[in-house]
Symmetry: C2
Subunit: 305 residues, 2 copies
């Protein structure tokens, strides 16, 4: 393996693809088993510098299925007395939305690891008694300040940085700020040797500070929620624009195709909503994105830096 290995555990936005209650044109292809689309679970990435200690970026509701499908994350039969084991030593959260945190409930069963998140996210998680299945004598919850690096198990250095976005849906009030920038929505930068990996599953806009990070990265996993800002309205699947949900779209004015053009890094769209036509092999939208040099994340995609 290289200096840093990354495995996409899931590449879909909240709800997954196909989504349990959706028969939009793209989900319809998935339900029918059409070979132009591949099902995807909810967004998460596993990273390791040594192949023995793995860090999860977000813990999606699909985490148990994602772990089953990923041999690198299976427990090993060790020499110890206890049969309980896992190579997962840390989880880093970029927010407290259901699709970022519900998988923590899968990581119960008294297995030690460290949970890294901002104060805003730790507080939102702690407000739910159910997460007490992660007992404090077993799982350490470490609050991380944005824009300060910290060392993860296995030799990766991480940094959380604020990205314009919004608070989790279940904490919204009637007039949510749609592009507030605080610890409720962050991206992750991982450094190993000279490599820099950026994971930004949700961004409402590219600020100058984010642009600086994008420029120095070797590889970027970026918010690919919607192709068009009004996509959910047009498909009849929702009443909100991408902006209303805290996500800049791929195409159009203020979209990521334009905002991230000309970067040297390998660029991969992830956190892709079930309505997004880039999920369909051969679609005009997929062709437009790949012609611009982007890749489309898939579950199980493995990258060595």
């Amino acid at each position: 393996m290289g200096q840093l290995t990354a495995i996409i555990l899931g590449a879909a936005a909240g709800g997954g693809f196909p989504q349990w209650n959706c028969f939009c044109p793209v989900c319809g292809l998935a339900w029918a088993g059409d070979p132009r689309v591949k099902p995807r679970t909810q967004s998460s990435l596993a990273a390791s510098a040594d192949g023995r200690h793995w860090v999860l970026l977000n813990a999606s509701p699909d985490l148990r299925a994602q772990l089953q499908a990923t041999p690198a994350l299976h427990p090993k039969q060790g020499p110890k007395q206890s049969p309980r084991d896992s190579p997962i030593t840390a989880v880093v959260l970029t927010g407290a939305e259901v699709d970022q945190t519900a998988g923590l409930l899968t990581l119960r069963e008294r297995q030690p690891f460290v949970l890294y998140a901002t104060a805003e996210t730790q507080s939102a998680v702690a407000a739910n008694p159910m997460f007490n299945v992660l007992s404090p004598d077993v799982v350490t919850r470490q609050t991380i300040a944005a824009h300060k690096s910290f060392t993860l198990p296995g030799g990766i250095v991480g940094e959380l940085f604020t990205v314009p976005g919004k608070v989790p849906l279940y904490l919204e009030n009637d007039n949510p700020e749609l592009a507030r920038e605080d610890g409720a929505n962050v991206g992750v930068e991982l450094f190993v040797g000279g490599n820099r990996l950026l994971y930004v599953p949700g961004a409402a806009a590219v600020t100058p500070a984010l642009a600086t990070r994008l420029k120095r990265a070797n590889i970027i996993f970026f918010d690919g929620t919607l192709f068009a800002d009004d996509e959910m309205i047009v498909t009849g699947t929702g009443t909100k624009t991408g902006r209303r949900m805290g996500h800049m779209s791929i195409d159009g004015e203020g979209g990521s195709l334009t905002a991230l053009a000309g970067l040297a890094a390998r660029r991969i769209y992830t956190h892709i909503n079930n309505t997004n036509p880039i999920l369909v092999d051969g679609s005009p939208e997929r062709r437009k994105v790949t012609a611009a040099g982007w890749e489309i994340a898939e579950d199980g995609m493995r990258i060595e830096l």
Copy 2:
């Protein structure tokens, strides 16, 4: 289809089989892909009287994968304007443990259904703000008194009944009552025509009242968590007996093999822990159980009454 169709969505206890961090002898076979064992997701059952309205008994953390694997529960392309659809019209909870409730987070996305549970379980769920993704203007939370029948969508009549057990692990105090009998742990009886289905995934003991229900049932899905009361201690996977966890074991004094002997009903063990050797085809424990007339639940098992 018959008068009542039941599909086992998952047959494993909390953690599933194999469990993410377990290399006990039985999980070891699963990780190695040994054909004597079949992986199982966490316990849940879907039932329908008409094939169009489906009721879920418990919503496990594996619910999204379970729905993907079950065509009867997929959305259909309908004549309506909205592409959002689901045949799932109700969820009934037997408790508020993670393996009984976390799947509710999968049922977000503004899809109407009714959530039926006792006051104790509704209260434990409501204490977690994250479940507010099930917005009250979309999902109706209906409190059900034990021992009183209620009508489910699609023509099934249900009844919840108290079963000795305990409160969810994350709500335990230092000295939990291990066989308290109140609304925190219930079983479900479903009636259609002359048929009675019993679903009892957790029982610390068989009371005279439970014995009466068992006698009149046509089919019983019963707590198969552990084969032996000290199984987790012996395998080094835990420090608790089955009794301590609120589950009577299958074998031994006070076990379900003895307590449920001689019943006329079809009897199926479900909610099976990953350490339980009845998961291994050909094991002495499996042979003992099947020789006593029991079946072992598997994911996807379909039963028509």
